[in-house]
């Protein structure tokens, strides 16, 4: 058994570092995008349209990953697209986490009517197809970064609420909570000071997973052309464009797709790695 545990630990460690490494790289690229990107991501050049990536015949070394149908540099657009992707992941993920976890804590610890109300809303939310709900909200709110963030928070709070409610419920049944109640502490302060620290590992794992989901939602909305204005490059809009010119210029689809794939995979593996890390059995 000791051997298997060591293997699981080593594998978990490797994927933690690999995914954290990729995300750090991406974060740096996003922050320093104007300094790193070789070209203006919006600069069009119709004479240099659909240049292939550097290893293909007819490539231009100045555009290592090629250009799209308007002659815009694919690499620069991916680097600038990281700003939107990570920005949405960070802001929408954190807000969703705060609201969802708070509602989950209240429902799970206070039980009674707050739980009834919150759980009923969770049921209703579960009956919506999430992508359709997101598109509907964007159509109502109008396109733009803040609309995307609001849509993600409105749709995904249930992910946190459901899990945290169950955890808070089992924590609330434990002796340490009972003794805090006997000691006459206020219930809200027990919730924040006693229950919250014990469900925090779960919250951190869910938050990491949620960031990956936020990146995907943004890409999907960009893909159906409902994200933010066209003068801000996003991976989703690049993918949508690449999907249309797939037979003429595959690289316009492939490179943003690889970036998106690795990013989503990293958030997810980071979350899973953290879950193992917090797991007392594996530790």
């Amino acid at each position: 058994m000791a051997d298997a545990r060591g293997l699981v630990k080593r594998r978990a460690g490797a994927r933690l570092w690999l995914s954290a490494g990729w995300l750090t790289l991406l974060a740096l690229a996003a922050v320093f995008a104007p300094l790193i990107a070789p070209h203006d991501p919006l600069a069009q050049d119709l004479f240099g349209a659909r240049l292939p990536p550097f290893w293909e015949h007819g490539a231009d070394a100045a555009f290592p990953l090629g250009t799209d149908s308007l002659g815009r540099d694919v690499l620069s657009r991916i680097i600038h697209g990281a700003r939107v992707a990570l920005g949405v992941a960070l802001i929408a993920g954190t807000l969703t986490c705060l609201i969802g976890a708070l509602l989950g804590l209240i429902a799970g610890y206070f039980r009674g009517w707050p739980d009834m109300v919150i759980s009923r809303f969770v049921d209703i939310w579960m009956a919506f197809p999430p992508v359709l709900f997101a598109i509907l909200l964007i159509a109502v709110l109008g396109t733009g970064l803040s609309s995307i963030i609001i849509a993600i928070v409105v749709i995904d709070w249930t992910r946190f609420a459901r899990v945290i409610r169950a955890e808070a419920m089992s924590q609330g049944a434990m002796d340490y909570v009972a003794s805090a109640q006997v000691a006459g502490r206020k219930r809200f302060s027990i919730m924040l000071a006693e229950i919250l620290p014990n469900v925090l590992p779960t919250i951190v794992v869910l938050l990491t997973l949620e960031m990956g989901i936020a990146v995907i939602v943004e890409a999907i909305l960009s893909f159906v052309n409902l994200s933010i204005s066209t003068d801000q490059p996003t991976w989703g809009s690049m993918i949508a464009e690449g999907r249309l010119s797939i037979h003429q210029a595959w690289w316009v689809l492939v490179f943003p797709l690889i970036t998106l794939f690795l990013t989503v995979l990293s958030f997810s593996q980071l979350g899973e790695g953290l879950k193992d890390h917090f797991d007392p059995v594996l530790r």
Partner: protein, 336 residues
């Protein structure tokens, strides 16, 4: 609690949920700033034309009044008239529903086959490199959603090795002799295997994209349950009786290990159906989800309402069926 009471209680919560969905959709889309009436009118239409059209679609009343009118219509099976196509919403939605049902069921079947095969292979070869490879593949498949798998499949089977159709439900050149919209089902009944092959070729990629994450979940859970069952005494007994490993896994361990997976498949099936919205868009498959996105973009309020309610109805019915099946299959809940 008897089964009857259980069903009644579930039907009641189902009704509350559906009502909640109806309220939320109805009020959310009436905040829409865009004016659908303005888009329908020819240039130069006067004030009274606008008022007439508004009255026609009931948009001149207050929002709560509109809701009551709409709800009483829905209860009579009248979902209103689509603003863009000017046809009854119910007919439009029902004409697209079979395409989405066929796609979802096909994806479910693919997921069960792949997931089941992986779980059985992983159990048969536990402790070897094969099991390790299956675990890694599962981890990857779980981490990436259907939308991205769809794009990867388009690259693989649409560009690199173009063997499957990349968009649509059926080749437009084909003459369809069908009387329902369940093309796949009817092509089998009418023994038109040429059309069947064309349909499957169109459905291959979207259904596989939907199936990959679910297949991974099935493989993971079933393998876990099998592993636990394989250590039980009765399995050891079967081995000492001299049965081969394949017999022990499929005949002895599997029937006892499969119940948790069945429940999970039911729950996950609703997520799969939700995924059809964007997958249908990605593959230009003419189902409900694709219609929904068009309806949102065209601000076709009655159509959006109808589609969302239908999706919610499907979700809650699937959940109900799963619950009742589980209660029927699990002896501990049958009399509980």
């Amino acid at each position: 609690m008897t089964l009857i009471r259980r069903i009644l209680l579930r039907l009641l919560t189902m009704a509350i949920t559906l009502f909640g969905v109806a309220v939320i959709v109805f009020f959310v889309i009436r905040v829409v700033p865009g004016n659908p009436i303005a888009m329908m009118l020819p240039p130069g239409a006067g004030e009274e034309d606008i008022a007439r059209l508004k009255a026609l679609y009931g948009l001149d009343k207050t929002i709560p009044e509109q809701f009551v009118i709409w709800l009483s219509g829905v209860l009579h099976g009248d979902f209103g008239t689509s603003i863009t196509t000017r046809q009854p919403v119910l007919g439009l939605v029902l004409s697209r529903l079979p395409a989405t049902i066929e796609l979802s069921v096909m994806a479910l079947v693919v997921a069960v086959i792949i997931g089941g095969a992986l779980a059985l292979t992983g159990t048969r070869r536990r402790g070897t490199r094969t099991e390790g490879a299956i675990d890694v593949a599962n981890g990857m498949a779980l981490s990436v959603p259907d939308f991205l798998w769809g794009l990867v499949l388009i690259l693989l089977f649409g560009v690199l090795w173009p063997v499957f159709h990349i968009s649509g439900r059926v080749s437009p050149a084909l003459d369809l002799p069908f009387s329902t919209n369940f093309y796949l089902f009817e092509s089998v009944l009418r023994l038109r295997f040429d059309i069947w092959a064309d349909l499957v070729s169109h459905m291959f990629m979207p259904s596989l994209a939907l199936a990959i994450p679910l297949a991974a979940i099935i493989a993971q859970l079933l393998k876990q349950s099998l592993k636990e069952t394989m250590n039980l005494d009765y399995v050891t007994l079967a081995r000492t009786k001299g049965y081969g490993e394949n017999h022990v896994i499929t005949r002895e361990a599997l029937p006892n290990a499969v119940l948790p997976t069945l429940t999970l498949i039911g729950v996950q099936f609703t997520f799969l159906i939700g995924g059809t919205v964007i997958i249908e868009r990605l593959f230009s498959y003419e189902g409900l989800g694709n219609m929904a996105i068009d309806a949102v973009i065209n601000r076709d309020l009655p159509l959006i309402q109808g589609i969302v309610i239908l999706f919610a109805l499907i979700f809650t019915v699937v959940n109900l069926v799963v619950d009742l099946t589980y209660a029927a299959l699990n002896p501990r809940l049958r009399h509980g």
